[in-house]
Each structure stands twice: as structure tokens, then as C-alpha cells.
Symmetry: C2
Subunit: 301 residues, 2 copies
């Protein structure tokens, strides 16, 4: 065992498990970062075993990067934030995992993103990435808006933008809607056209649709009427979510996700004026969460 553990200090592990990757961070009691690592997908909605595998391997790599040994995993207090565990059935399955940690505290990806964005304090966040949603966490209220998954939810997200673009291109191809620059942009990106577009997108994942989103923003920035219509519709939904969150007076509100910067100019400017920059990453939020839970647990003894 590494000397760090002999000192009886608590070592914390923060895990941010998402649909494309799993991020891990190891810190000491004073939140000093000792090591970090990234592994594969960890969204239990798309497979419990894969999620567990990604959590374990990212944790072990982060521990090694921090100078610990693999077996030291049994000594760490882990905070784990996962997509999908807002669904009760998945939360329970993940809670039943015979994990290798000293303690595991499980919560949603949104909860840790919020704690990370606001330095462990209360607040609200919105996400505009592959998916979309809003989340507020405070003494008075905890609520999620959206986060219903693609294609029924996730309006204004990258996946939604990509799907709406495909719809518009297919309608124009049939002569049933106005022509759009999106036809050329999507054809160039996907390396095919006409029915070929349908073929390469059959059964496409939200992530694959989201890869088309930058083209929609690009076309809208060039004043393509169809793309502008799509983006405005999506941004209007995001503004509605923001207003819903602001109605409960969160201490801070941050817009997160890969599309946040590019979609912000399309949102209502009174709402955009209320956004604060996120202070840290979700994996830091997972550590704040674990530390608070651990203190609560110790106090209860």
C-alpha cells in the first residue's frame, strides 16, 4: 500500500460517466489533483457491463497516474455521476454493483455537473451537447427539465439539430420543401447524396446525428433560411428551459455541453446575460458530492 494511505488521509475519486467517455480524477482531502484518466463509454442505458468496465479502468488509470497501486482502489472514496440513473430501475442496478471501492456514492451526471460548475455549491445548469436538459439543485428545489433522450426529447441538442437537418434535406430532395444549403453540407460530410444519405443514417445513434449539428450552425450563420429556422426553434426551447430554471432564483446558472458556445448567440439575450461560466468539471462535482456524503455518513455514526 502506498504511503499516502498509511497517513490515514482520505483519498477521493470523482467519476463522470457519459455516453462517449468516462473521466476519472483523484484528489486528496484538500482537493489537490493527484491524477486523472479517461476511459470508454459509461452510460448504463447502453450497457451496464460496459459502464462498470469503464468506471473501473478509468479509476485504476487515475490511481496509477497519482502514484498509487492498482489495489489501492479498495481504499478510495468514490463519487460517481452517471447518465441514466435518474431512471429508478438503472439507479437500483448500479447500486447493486459489488464495487471495488471503500465507499461508492452514486448520483446523476447532471448533479455532478452542477456541483462542478458551481464549486460544490447550489445552482443550476443547462446542457447543450449531444443531448439537452436543464437542472436545478438547491435546498428548496431539485428538478430536471428535459433529459428525456433522443428522439422523443433532447430538443435543441446536437442530435436534434442533426435529425431536423436530415428531415429538411429529405423533404427538399422530394420537392416538398424549400431548397437548403444543408443538402450540400450534409452530402459533403457524409460522402454521399440522395438515397445514400438515408443509407448511411439508417439506425444512426444520437452521437452520429450530433456530428451533423456543426453543419446546421454553419449554414445558419450563412443565413440559410431552413437552418436558421431549425436553430431558432431549438434555441427557443433552450431559452424556455433557462427561464424555467431562473424562475427559482438559482445562485448561479451555467450553460454546459459541446454546443453551448455556438448556440448561445441564438438564444434570447436576456437569458444569456444570466449565464455564469462553469468553475470546474463534472468529475470535480463528483468529488464534492462524495466528500459531503462521507461527512454526513461519518456524522451519523
Amino acid at each position: 500500500m502506498n504511503s499516502a494511505f498509511k497517513n490515514e488521509r482520505t483519498i477521493y475519486l470523482g467519476i463522470d460517466g457519459g455516453g462517449s467517455k468516462c473521466k476519472a480524477r483523484v484528489v486528496d482531502e484538500k482537493f489537490r489533483v493527484l491524477g486523472s484518466a479517461v476511459a470508454g463509454p459509461a452510460n448504463p442505458v447502453h450497457g451496464i457491463e460496459q459502464a462498470i468496465e469503464s468506471i473501473q479502468s478509468s479509476a485504476q488509470m487515475a490511481l496509477l497516474a497519482a502514484g498509487f497501486e492498482k489495489n489501492d482502489i479498495s481504499q478510495v472514496v468514490a463519487g460517481v455521476g452517471l447518465a441514466g440513473v435518474n431512471l429508478p430501475s438503472l439507479y437500483q442496478v448500479m447500486q447493486e454493483w459489488q464495487h471495488p471501492f471503500k465507499r461508492l456514492f452514486l448520483t446523476t451526471d447532471l448533479h455532478i455537473a452542477c456541483l462542478g460548475a458551481h464549486g460544490g455549491e447550489e445552482g443550476a445548469v443547462m446542457v447543450a451537447g449531444t443531448g439537452s436538459c436543464g437542472y436545478i439543485y438547491s435546498k428548496n428545489k431539485t428538478a430536471i427539465y428535459g433529459a428525456h433522450g433522443f428522439p422523443a426529447g433532447d430538443k435543441g441538442s446536437g442530435a436534434w439539430l442533426g435529425l431536423e437537418a436530415m428531415k429538411a434535406v429529405l423533404l427538399a430532395q422530394d420537392g416538398l420543401a424549400e431548397a437548403t444549403q444543408l443538402t450540400e453540407l450534409l452530402s459533403a460530410k457524409l460522402g454521399t447524396k440522395g438515397l445514400g444519405l438515408v443509407e448511411v443514417m439508417v439506425g444512426a445513434s444520437p452521437r452520429k446525428y450530433a456530428q451533423l449539428a456543426p453543419l446546421v450552425i454553419e449554414a445558419a450563420e450563412k443565413n440559410d433560411a431552413v437552418a436558421v429556422g431549425i436553430i431558432r426553434d431549438g434555441a427557443c426551447y433552450l431559452s424556455m428551459i433557462a427561464r424555467k430554471l431562473l424562475a427559482d432564483n438559482p445562485a448561479r446558472l451555467s450553460l454546459l455541453g459541446g454546443l453551448s458556445e455556438r448556440l448561445m448567440p441564438w438564444m434570447d439575450q436576456d437569458v444569456v446575460g444570466r449565464f455564469s461560466s462553469p468553475l470546474d468539471q463534472p468529475e470535480a462535482g463528483a468529488i464534492y458530492f462524495a466528500k459531503k456524503e462521507m461527512e454526513f455518513w461519518r456524522a451519523a455514526l
Copy 2:
């Protein structure tokens, strides 16, 4: 070998292979129905092996029902209409199948539906079922509108109606859109509510979404504003498709598919006045197709 074959008459087999079932019909040269049968799904988009298995077993059952033996399958001339083979890659894979028939003539599900609806003659059809599309087949023009698959295409279809209903219910649940009777109807149908609706519809197939469509029509018939808006939007698309087809003056136009009767009242009435009832089923169209191809092939010898 059965005596029918000793007479050197040609026996025709018509196959209508769709996403939920595969229908087979055996007829003699005068189109007299000798037997028919139904087997499982046969859409090659969802699995080549399953499609082939369903085609073979429906064919064998129809032959047995017609008084032939299993092995007589090697004597029949088969016309096979399949969803998905408008995509060149799937057409080729299916063409490479080492089939058990004397001859196999392959075409699209739309082509055989059109031939069936118009007694083997030229014309146009529209489909409003789990999916949606329009198709015209004439000397001057063969064209498909829609048929792009769910969720990017299939506007106005059962799957699309179900998805739009889910979206509306989830928005209303978040307080981001007006309340709708659909909330109660969907909850009753799916036996759950709130986040439970999301859970049971995660990754749902087009068919599963389409099972919600009758509720949307029901709610619209009760003047639910949200349901009316959804149906009108979908029916408007179907009317546009009809106009597109009518612009090429087809001899006849038929509206097919499980939702045709219930959606017709929502379509533009000038368009509805142009619909003719289908004369026969798609599997009959597959036989018309095979017979014509066989005559063409014999003439070329």
C-alpha cells in the same frame, strides 16, 4: 412432385415481405388462388437472415396449403416485394441469395403494393401505416416520395404520430407546453406515467411508436388541441405527397396502410376525392410482377 407441375403449367408465388410479417400467395396461370400463408418479419433492413427465413417459411406454408409438397418450391416462379430494397446495397445482397425457387424476381414493397392496388396496371399509391410514402409507376415516370425511414422520414405515419405525441406529453410534463389529453391516454396505454413513460419508450422501434398513433387520432377526434395540431401537420404532409403524385396524372391513386381510413378525414378533401379503393393485396401485385417479368424473359429467349 404434385400433378399440377406434371402438367407443365407455371405456378406463381407472390411474397409481400414487410417489417412485421411476410405474406405469401400461390396462384395458377389464371391467377386462381390455390393457397396462402403468413410468416414473421421480412424487412431485410432489420436482418437479412430473418427476412430470408420468413420468405422461405411463408412460401412453404402457402405451397402446402395449395396441396403441393415442400420440395415443389423449386418449381415455382416467385415475385418478391421487400421493404428496403430501394436501397441499392440491400437490393444487391438480396439478389445474391441462393434462393430455392425456379426463378425469383425481386422488387420493392411499394412496386408490388401499386401493382396489387391497380390490378397489375399502372398507377400510384400512398402508404399511411407504420411508415409513410408515395409511389408512382407509369411508362413516363417511376418515383418515390418519402420512404426515408423513422425518425428522419415517415412524416404523417403511425410511428411519427406516436413520436410527436410522446414529445408533446414530455413537454407538457415539464410545464413547457400546453396540457394535453394525450398525457392520460398514453399513460393508460403504457401502464405508467412521468419518467416511466421515458423508461418504457427508450430505444422503441417504429412499430412501438406506431402503437400510440390510434390514441393521437382518438384525442384529436375529441378536439384535444395538441393532438389536432399533430394530426393536421401529418395530414398536410400526406396531402402534399398526394398532390405530387396527382401532378403526373396516374390512372388511379390509392391510399393504403393501417391508418389510411382514420387519417383520410384529416387530409385535404380535394385530394381525398381522387382516391380509388385498392383492387387487391400487395402479394397479388408480386404475382403480376413475376408474371410480366417471366413473359419478358421467355420472349427474350
